[in-house]
Chain length 292, copies 2
């Protein structure tokens, strides 16, 4: 069994020696579909691309005044949490945000500080929701990335292109090959609910089974409790306005953002192929051997 | 440890369920570089391609008369064995062929039966050797496959395009994910040497360390000795004149051929990427757990 653990310890190290990068590289512009597939999607490696959507009107237009005018009266679904952590561990619970319906104007009032409100408000929309629920804004972006659509015909999880329009996002990324060093525990699912006094309570989801989730805070890892996480090698990167992050499927990620940050995401279902098959092996082995 | 073995038994099964094919598929013609990379090289799956080199003069020209005329006087290196098994296990030895220099005409005399000679004669030349040592023949083929060269820019082991010109080759292929079921043993390296009476003797290589090799004959597997090989799922295919086999890197293969078969091979160094990294993990785990 020690030999098996040694294999699992060596494997992520070899991944780094063989093909992973020490940092997230920058590309000067979009590549051809073949180049992008061969160099980034196939190898399953992240990169940040400059000038990939410099022609989008959204880059100059999307500010509070414009958004208020175009979609202020639209009712949207907003994720509300006391601390900005949506879908995260809190004590012995896995806690999801309160989903609240409000107009875009009301959200902007809160974000701009015109209305005081406790809690952190965040609008999450997948690409298709943008086109379906806010069609007034789709003229300001492209609704698909030509070279990516061509590179990926078969679609089934998520290859993610992350386009930051305003503000910036800070990512902590871990490759799938670091799975042996990443702890999972089982948590009772629950949801935040804001009380009348503005404080939040946590309400358990009834009749739901426990969910496996990562207990570790990558901003402040508890190495005493999770010593093998010392062997993981997180990549940190900041994606600024006008930049696009290719976040490959199966990569672990933690995201923080500047106040008022707006980003448009393109999700592409991943291939359930060799990399998924091998990842499942590593996951099942990590569960089988317990602590490294 | 039983759990680890269970993981290694399930993994090849899941590979088959997720993405491997039950048979080697046929394509009607060459694909674009992007399609070929995305659908076959990236996923590391074999296929047979029709009409990939139908314009080669070699297809109609390469017969004994033509070859005698063009390159009959050239001296070439021929691999000679008693049984056609070059680089194979014989008893407790790993035996390589005798390398013999002879003119192409002399080889043709033997192959055509004009000269009686015990043993099996086989000419092995890598692509670059064809262009360098037999430049008279390179006008009959293309010296590279355009859509493959473009798909693979980075080169480092072997992606193989196998073009059969005359006769046919029969392949037994096993995916890299079947590695847990494939036995390896250590053998003393040796070489065949034909004696004056026409019989072959086996001469040990001096001062050489033992080499790991697969002891199993896929044409007649000894399931009593290697029971887990029952769980492997070999793919059988026949590549006929005019057909091209894409034999992906890291796939186990066993090849037989018809008498007088001629084929041209294109080798491309593989990427030492994720698939190599994961394969190395499976290999080290298979060695660590011993028999499944």
């Amino acid at each position: 069994m020690d030999a098996v653990k040694e294999c699992l310890r060596n494997f992520p190290k070899e991944a780094r020696e063989l093909y992973l990068n020490d940092t997230v590289p920058y590309l000067d512009g979009p590549l051809s579909p073949l180049q992008f597939y061969r160099d980034w999607i196939g190898p399953n490696k992240p990169c940040i691309i400059h000038n990939a959507f410099s022609d989008w009107p959204a880059l100059s237009k999307w500010n509070a005044t414009y958004l208020r005018e175009k979609v202020g009266s639209k009712v949207i679904s907003v994720a509300v949490t006391p601390n900005g952590y949506a879908d995260a561990v809190n004590g012995d619970r896995f806690v999801m945000p309160e989903e609240r319906q409000m107009t875009f104007s009301s959200l902007l009032d809160i974000i701009e500080g015109k209305v005081k409100c406790s809690g952190v408000f965040y609008v999450q929309k997948q690409c298709s929701n943008l086109t379906e629920e806010l069609p007034e804004l789709t003229g300001d972006v492209q609704t698909h990335i030509l070279w990516m659509s061509e590179a990926l015909v078969h679609k089934d999880h998520y290859e993610n292109l992350y386009c930051v329009i305003t503000g910036q996002k800070e990512f902590i990324l871990l490759p799938p090959t670091d799975r042996p060093f990443i702890p999972y525990e089982l948590y009772q699912p629950a949801t935040y609910r804001q009380k009348e006094d503005g404080n939040f309570e946590i309400v358990d989801e009834e009749d739901s089974t426990k969910v496996p989730w990562i207990p570790l805070d990558p901003l402040n890892p508890d190495y005493d409790r999770y010593p093998s996480y010392r062997l993981a090698k997180p990549l940190l990167c900041t994606v600024k306005a006008g930049e696009m992050l290719y976040l490959p499927s199966l990569w672990f990620h933690h995201v923080r953002q500047s106040h008022g940050c707006i980003a448009v995401n393109f999700w592409y279902d991943m291939e359930y192929d060799m990399k998924y098959n091998y990842f499942q092996l590593v996951e099942s082995l990590t569960n089988a051997v317990g602590s490294l």
